[in-house]
């Protein structure tokens, strides 16, 4: 049994079925990768797990430690230890970095701010009093968002495209944060297209047409994705033969 379980999760948006009877377990303290073509439902799945308002009308069950959470609002899920690092972090005009970090921090101290900023490679002296706004680059905002999540000490971290729009230095720091989550025993779910990011996962799930069509060894799943999915002409819908070929 996983720490986080999804049972027959189905979600329709705009008349289209995005998640299609999806069942999957995520294991405590492990780093998982969700891969799949654009539109496969990866970010939707993250939103459904987090309980974002657009995805609350899903059917099926989401269990945390065996308890259903699908009817809980975002903040209650967060208080139970689930959080999300967004592909494009929000900007907050005027809101200081230290206030943002401490908003959900487990220990609300200046020492926490310094520790987590240093962990993501940002100088606390330079960044703590800055605003989380457009004066920060996308990479800086991603790192500050991860700093806020480190301060929160969550049990389940959803990371949506952690490498998008950032430079090599920032990516290195994001991997440092990932290592921190793992050291603390957090369950991590990476949503990614990147082979660089995939290297940090222990298990991979291939998502297509709102379903998990394969799972297991990262190299094998990534190989299948590279060989079949990228060139797939089936608009995210595998053929019966393809499905049969990968089913366990």
């Amino acid at each position: 049994m996983g720490v986080l379980e999804l049972r027959d999760v189905t979600l329709e948006l705009g008349g289209r079925r995005i998640l299609n009877g999806l069942t999957v377990d995520f294991w405590e303290g492990h780093v998982h990768a969700l891969i799949g073509p654009n539109g496969a439902g990866k970010s939707t799945l993250a939103g459904a797990i987090m309980g974002l308002p657009d995805y609350r009308h899903m059917r099926g069950e989401i269990l945390l430690d065996g308890e259903p959470i699908q009817d809980l609002p975002v903040d209650e899920r967060a208080r139970r230890g689930i959080t999300l690092a967004w592909q494009e972090p929000a900007r907050f005009e005027g809101l200081r970095v230290d206030r943002f970090i401490l908003a959900g921090a487990k220990e609300r101290t200046g020492a926490t701010v310094r520790r987590v900023l240093e962990r993501v490679g940002l100088d606390p002296e330079k960044y703590a009093a800055r605003a989380v706004d457009k004066t920060l680059s996308g990479g800086e905002r991603k790192r500050i968002e991860l700093a806020s999540i480190l301060a929160m000490e969550p049990r389940v971290v959803l990371m949506d495209e952690p490498d998008s729009g950032i430079d090599v230095e920032a990516l290195t720091r994001i991997f440092d944060a990932l290592a921190d989550f793992k050291e603390r025993g957090a369950t991590v779910i990476l949503i990614t297209h990147s082979q660089e990011v995939l290297k940090h996962a222990e298990h991979a799930f291939l998502l297509c047409d709102g379903r998990i069509i394969d799972k297991g060894n990262v190299g094998r799943i990534d190989g299948y994705f590279g060989d079949k999915c990228i060139s797939c002409g089936h608009t995210n819908l595998p053929t019966v033969e393809e499905l049969a070929g990968v089913a366990e």
Binding site: D75, R77, A78, R79, T83, E93, G94, L95
Partner: protein, 316 residues
């Protein structure tokens, strides 16, 4: 100004106590301050380079504030205007002259902790001499009743190379009625930085008029109004910036968060009368940004807590 009486000292103490954390400012001989309760000066201290003369009016005071040429007032000058009774009128007439190359940063606190029917009027004219810098931060602290009518009207002339920075803040307590009217003329290479930050609640009615005229070459201005409105509060914001000289640069920024039955209206006016001048504006009115809200809620804040933090940032 004569030394305050024992009763005046007691009133000053009470007035400052109503400021809470902001009231501990008058310790130290190097800090200039002035406390006015109703139409009475109840406390004052000056420092070299700064002169203040005060006349008592029937329902307020008239003050002349003068900064000597080249005077640099190292520590902020503290002004406290207020009324402790529940009703009354306080009218402040203020004439400020900052001579060439002088500097002062003034922190004014206006406190009406018990107001039910209090009117606070400010009529100010300010002249900032060449190369001088004058900063004026006005923070209002009102009680829970919202029974205050605040009418600040200020006219400012910023001479060549001078700088005027002003902030108006009303975040604590009920605003009541605010009719804010600032108009600033900017000479060559001067700088104007004006911001109003207000939270409106209950049946507060807020009207902001910020006007800047970039008359001289290379003059610069930023006018900002950031408001958060809740309940049945209403606000009208008029930001006007004109530019009529080469290389004048300006920006107008109005942001309002609206919740409940609150109503907001923003009217940015930009007028450019010289081909080498450039002015921009942006105005945004709406509810709290959903992505910001969801981000903070995904850290465990409930919706009210997340909203408060977003507003704190906007008005901070």
């Amino acid at each position: 100004m004569s030394a305050p009486t024992k009763a005046q000292v007691e009133t000053a103490r009470e007035l400052l106590a109503s400021l809470g954390d902001f009231g501990g400012h008058i310790k130290g001989d190097d800090i200039a301050h002035l406390e006015v309760h109703g139409n009475e000066v109840v406390g004052a201290h000056l420092v070299p380079g700064l002169q203040v003369d005060v006349d008592q009016l029937d329902e307020g005071i008239e003050a002349w504030i003068h900064l000597d040429k080249g005077a640099r007032i190292a520590k902020p000058v503290h002004l406290c205007f207020g009324m402790l009774p529940t009703e009354g009128l306080q009218r402040i007439v203020m004439h400020v002259e900052a001579e060439e190359d002088s500097f002062a940063s003034v922190q004014a606190h206006c406190t009406f902790p018990n107001a039910i029917a209090v009117t606070h009027k400010m009529d100010a004219d300010v002249v900032i001499g060449p190369g001088a810098t004058y900063e004026y931060f006005e923070r209002h602290l009102h009680g829970a009743e919202g029974g205050v009518v605040v009418v600040p009207k200020t006219r400012v002339r910023v001479r060549e190379g001078a700088r005027f920075k002003t902030e108006f803040e009303l975040i604590k307590g009920m605003a009541g009625v605010i009719d804010f009217d600032y108009e600033v003329d900017c000479d060559a290479f001067s700088t104007l930085d004006m911001i109003a930050r207000i939270i409106g609640r209950g049946h507060d009615r807020i009207r902001i008029s910020e006007t800047g005229h970039l008359n001289g070459e290379g003059a610069k201005a930023v006018l900002q109004s950031h408001l958060a409105l809740r309940d049945d509060a209403t606000a009208e914001v008029y930001n006007t910036l004109t530019a009529s000289a080469p290389h004048a640069r300006g920006h107008v920024d109005c942001k309002e968060i609206v919740q409940g039955n609150a109503v907001a209206k923003a009217v940015p006016v930009v007028e450019v009368n010289h081909p080498l001048a450039h002015v921009t504006h942006e105005a945004a009115i709406g509810s709290v940004d959903s992505k910001q809200l969801q981000t903070l809620m995904s850290r465990g804040l409930d919706e009210d807590g997340a909203t408060d933090l977003i507003i704190e940032g906007l008005l901070g």
